[in-house]
Amino acid sequence: MKTKSLLLAGALLLAGCGLQPVQPWQREDLARPEMAWERGLVEEGAIRSHTYQSKEAAIGGPALGGGGCGCN
């Protein structure tokens, strides 16, 4: 599974290298709010991550978490 994930991720980025470069005037859609990495108001992503992390064993992602908790 790990190997497959790595291969898939690598292929995805390599595919980007082989495509025509996207020019600044072609980025209107990329700049739309619907395309943001984190969606939702008022740190919605933070509280969702906190909820999952307090009930699941896995943590980690492209951001730093806040302080820990003694979650029951």
């Binding site: 005037w25 980690g60 978490g65």
Partner: protein, 429 residues
């Protein structure tokens, strides 16, 4: 490049604004040359479903509920800085899984804590961020306080845009010091419960995003965390050969996560497809996979509707058992359902409406966990797996500050016909 250079062409202004608001910059509030103050509030109610009577020791099986209030403030300062403050206040109550014992037929029975837990949590976090010509860097500090828990955290993060902003490299380093003082620790009632303990946690991550097409951007990130100290749960016990022993886990843990994210805009439908995937593994022998797919649909009158589906599965820690018939040589015991193998599926729907400077949002999420939701066959499933429901509502308000006058140049205003947000920003010569 001089910051005093001002974009003079309306088309260039629009393009620069669009480029500055790329997803790699994590949202419109983070485009450099921010000029808006943002204040927001979110209320969330989290409720765990009661356990079925067949899985418990005959009690009502009522579990945890949490009410959360989040307050958010983003304040730009000058051309290059912004400051973010977030406060979260939570109240928690209900019963929590205590230990698992074998039933008369050998089936695992979850015993819940008898007395209802009452706790409060306050989290204050601040971030100072500087916007640079080719990226951003930030310093974060936080404190989290509960009746029996105190954590201090801090971190530095940086993003670097290159290849004409087709790529963004991001990285961060974080540290947290957590101190526990369990209720009734070392008391006559709970002599085996520790009175005080602490742990250190270090986190590092690095990620790379790539613009693939005019409608597609992807990101790949690797994160690592090392924890050292007391990593057990002071309130949980393990049933070991007819004895109840304290939950006891290794004193250190290495955790790795590989995350992939994809955003694709479908212009004909005015919608964006979000795909987030993660593979996780740690030194306790536990591995997990998660996949979330969301559809962000723009609707008339500034409405936005986002249904999403998240699937998660994990294996069990190598020392986990629902209960132990024989003692382990290494002395590690935990029957915490969070270290059990299982799968989980959650469905969520969120609606958002913008009106003048206000944004309103509401969301509901239902989460269900079960051994059958994992791809791999689950043995020794915990009887305490959790199902929960979260409902939340949020409001935020943005208002503009007067743009600072460019140094040594005349002030140029964008033409009204340009798409918003359009700002007077520097461009590369």
């Amino acid at each position: 490049m001089s910051k005093d250079r001002i974009a003079t062409s309306p088309a260039l202004l629009a393009l620069s604004a669009a480029a500055a608001a790329l997803p790699g910059y994590s949202g419109p509030a983070q485009a450099w040359a921010d000029e808006s103050v943002e204040a927001g509030y979110r209320y969330s109610h989290y409720q765990e479903a009661a356990l079925p009577a067949s899985a418990t020791n005959g009690g009502p099986g009522e579990r945890y509920r949490v009410d959360s209030h989040q307050f958010h403030w983003l304040q730009p300062q000058g051309e290059a800085w912004d400051f973010k403050t977030d406060l979260m206040l939570e109240t928690m109550s209900g019963a929590s899984p205590w230990y698992v014992a074998p039933g008369s037929g050998g089936q695992a029975i979850q015993v819940l804590s008898g007395a209802s837990i009452q706790d409060r949590r306050a989290v204050l976090q601040g971030r100072a961020r500087q916007h640079l010509e080719q990226g951003r860097r930030a310093l974060s500090l936080g404190i989290s306080k509960e009746d029996d828990y105190l954590a201090y955290s801090g971190g530095v993060e940086a993003e670097w845009d290159f290849n004409q902003r087709r790529n963004t490299l991001s990285a961060g380093l974080g540290y947290s010091y957590d101190q526990l003082k369990p209720t009734d620790g070392g008391s006559a009632r709970f002599p085996d419960r520790i009175a005080k303990a602490d742990k250190d946690s270090f986190t590092a991550y690095a990620g790379l995003s790539q613009v693939l097409t005019p409608q597609t951007v992807a990101q790949l990130a690797l994160s690592y965390s090392y924890s050292d100290g007391y990593l057990s749960d002071p309130y949980k016990l393990a049933y070991v050969d007819a004895r109840l022993l304290p939950d006891n886990r290794p004193q250190d843990r290495n955790q790795w996560a590989l995350t992939g994210r994809l955003r694709h805009y479908l212009r004909s439908l005015q919608a964006a497809l979000h795909v987030d995937a993660r593979y996780y593994t740690d030194s306790w022998g536990l591995a997990s996979d998660s996949l979330e797919v969301a559809w962000v649909q723009k609707l008339p009158a500034d409405w936005r509707l986002t249904p999403s589906l998240r699937w998660y599965q994990q294996g069990h820690a190598n020392f986990y058992r629902p209960y132990y018939t024989v003692a382990r040589e290494d002395g590690y015991y935990s029957s915490d359902y969070r270290l059990s193998a299982y799968g989980a599926l959650s469905g969520r729907i969120a609606a958002e409406k913008s009106w003048r400077g206000f944004s309103f949002a509401a969301a509901v999420e239902a989460y269900e966990s079960d051994g059958d939701l994992a791809l791999r066959a689950v043995r020794d499933e915990s009887p305490g797996l959790v199902d929960f429901l979260v409902v939340s509502a949020a409001v935020s308000y943005q208002w503009s500050l007067a743009p600072p006058a460019p140094r040594g140049t005349s002030t140029l205003q964008p033409e009204p016909a340009l798409p918003t947000p359009v700002q007077v920003i520097p461009v590369t010569p």
